[in-house]
Subunit: 337 residues, 2 copies
DNA sequence: CTGTTAGCGCATTCAG
DNA sequence: CTGAATGCGCTAACAG
């Protein structure tokens, strides 16, 4: 099946016996076109298996129906889930999504955004509130809509949909304090270039301080089971081991749990473990994980709605703080005396 | 910062004191250009923060540097991981990736592919070997490179990178047979529109038959923990419960494990449980999961390499069957008599 | 309601 | 090595 010369709009016009403009009208903004000719055009397009040329279309109309997302990685469910719903919502509205990953590196993020701009995206989804000046400047200058996710902290100009990471850190600490713990450690995320991890840590520390407590230790660990495992080991072998540990993610928490199981450390008897994200895995470990729910899917959906909204309406949608929810399961318990 | 009128190639030319053609040459195929003027052009482009217009570029050159992927969902690590490495490899080579999801529906898949064609993608990644005729015809007709993943079964014309799903089914069965099991059930994936689940089931049944065994039951379950939980329940409450169960994925297997734990059914003492995919979660359950490794990341990388290769070379890369690996951990054991 | 005209921004001929 | 000219396929004005 050799490639027949691509059929274009003008071929459809010829076959339908009308002008290219009319074909364009039928295929697009549905401006008033006689029903009879409309049918003929549609028929002709069908017969010829016509597929419009998006490049030509964008070039002429300066509308690309393209959006971009730059996320740290797709290899973590919390981002994959967000992108999944973002993509679904955008596609429902005829917008295609280009995805790029930054590996948590804001310089790479900038490069990727540049690429997206080059591709002609009309909107961009970013993660977090910390970005290079150039990134934002570029977006502003090209008049591209953008929104930050996983944060509720917009810049002067940017919008945000997500949650307050500091509150998240406080919420976690609060839960453990309420259970009577005083020796609380954190197995936090890597804070370099990750403003969300920073805020959560700060919130955690602040909440302890407000209760005249100090963290027993703050370790940073990648969002992986191994990291949680190794971190828990360090924590539990210390002179003064914690009675409660806040983990950067459910994955890390599951790794921490594994360390405890392997070493006959009772959870939550000896040490309480708190996860973060509310991933599926939290219900599959033994004990099941107490965690903080991150509404990833909803974030994707809302981000899409924001970007799809007419520019005028966007003003009123600039901050969308989603509620944080503590999910209490079996891995945390009151401190035994 | 109001939107200054977008700077275009001709502006760069003016600023650099040369013709647009020269600027184009500098920015692209690096055809011989005097080093001095090249520098001036680069400088001017920098100063003006010039970003080329991709649409115009593609329209003129008929090269879009765009690829597309249509996968069932991003909400399952096995696909997200593949896409993650696919994207990384493509980006390294200046190709952007548009992602669409089909929800395991080949009619939707066709729609998405059409959209991708419209966007001008030069190559497409699909999952599995079962697709609508129209999908393949469209790709062939437009001369778009495409590759199937998670399968080693190419069509007459399409390429494939993945593994033999029937072998996977057989491998799973083999492991349990070797352990002395005869009452073996399957908690398989939904087979509608999923040729891979079909093949794995067929391989499973075939291997049993080759050993004069018949499956004790085959249930279909979505790739979720709940499904595994519910399926395991049905299986274990049957008149003749199995002594070994093959699950569609590690997620389902983890759900099955949970059911057993809740009901004091010993794993692997009373029943062995075999997972599939080798996700992180497999090392975090109790017991840890015996599973079959699916090289998702490698698939993405290889698929990218295939699509990036010059058309001539692709002929020699059409099938790439990756090895399947049984990962034995604690959830399977020899049958006790 | 429909056709005609004129580019969108760029890469590619073809001459110099 | 460089410039001038010519559309890529389509849609937005403007007439009719």
């Amino acid at each position: 099946m050799p490639d027949e010369p691509d059929v274009k709009l003008i071929d459809v016009a010829r076959k339908a016996g009308c002008s290219p403009a009319t074909v364009s009208r039928v295929l697009n903004h549905n401006a008033k076109v006689n029903t009879a000719t409309r049918e003929k055009v549609l028929q002709a397009a069908m017969d010829l298996a016509y597929v419009p040329n998006g490049s030509a279309r964008s070039l002429r109309s300066t509308k690309s129906r393209l959006a971009g997302a730059v996320i740290p990685t797709l290899d973590h469910a919390i981002y994959a889930t967000m992108v999944n719903s973002l993509q679904a919502r955008l596609t429902e509205n005829g917008v295609s999504l280009i995805i790029n990953t930054s590996s948590y590196d804001i310089d790479r993020e900038y490069e990727q955004v540049r690429l997206l701009v080059e591709r002609g995206v009309e909107s961009v989804v970013l993660v977090g509130a910390a970005h290079r000046r150039e990134t934002i400047a570029l977006l502003e200058q090209r008049n591209i809509a953008y929104v930050f996710t996983y944060t509720a902290k917009p810049t002067d100009i940017g919008a945000a949909v997500g949650f307050d990471n500091e509150k998240a850190g406080r919420l976690a600490a609060r839960h453990l304090i309420d259970l009577g713990h005083t020796r609380i450690a954190m197995l936090g995320g890597i804070t370099i270039n990750n403003d969300r991890a920073v805020s959560r840590r700060d919130g955690f520390v602040a909440e302890l301080r407000d209760n005249n407590l100090a963290p027993l230790g703050i370790l940073e660990t990648p969002y992986q089971a191994d990291g949680g495992h190794a971190g828990m080991k360090r924590l539990m072998l210390a002179d003064t081991p914690p009675t409660a540990v806040i983990c950067a993610s459910d994955i890390a928490a599951a790794g921490a749990l594994k360390y405890c199981r392997q070493n006959d450390i009772a959870v939550p008897g000896t040490v309480s473990v708190l996860g973060f994200d509310n991933l599926d895995i939290g219900e599959l470990t033994t004990p099941e994980l107490t965690t903080i729910d991150v509404p990833a899917g909803e974030m994707g959906r809302i981000a899409a709605d924001y970007l799809l909204a007419p520019a005028a309406q966007r003003q009123h949608m600039r901050i969308r703080e989603l509620p944080l929810r503590l999910v209490v399961r079996g891995s945390t318990a009151a401190l035994l005396r």
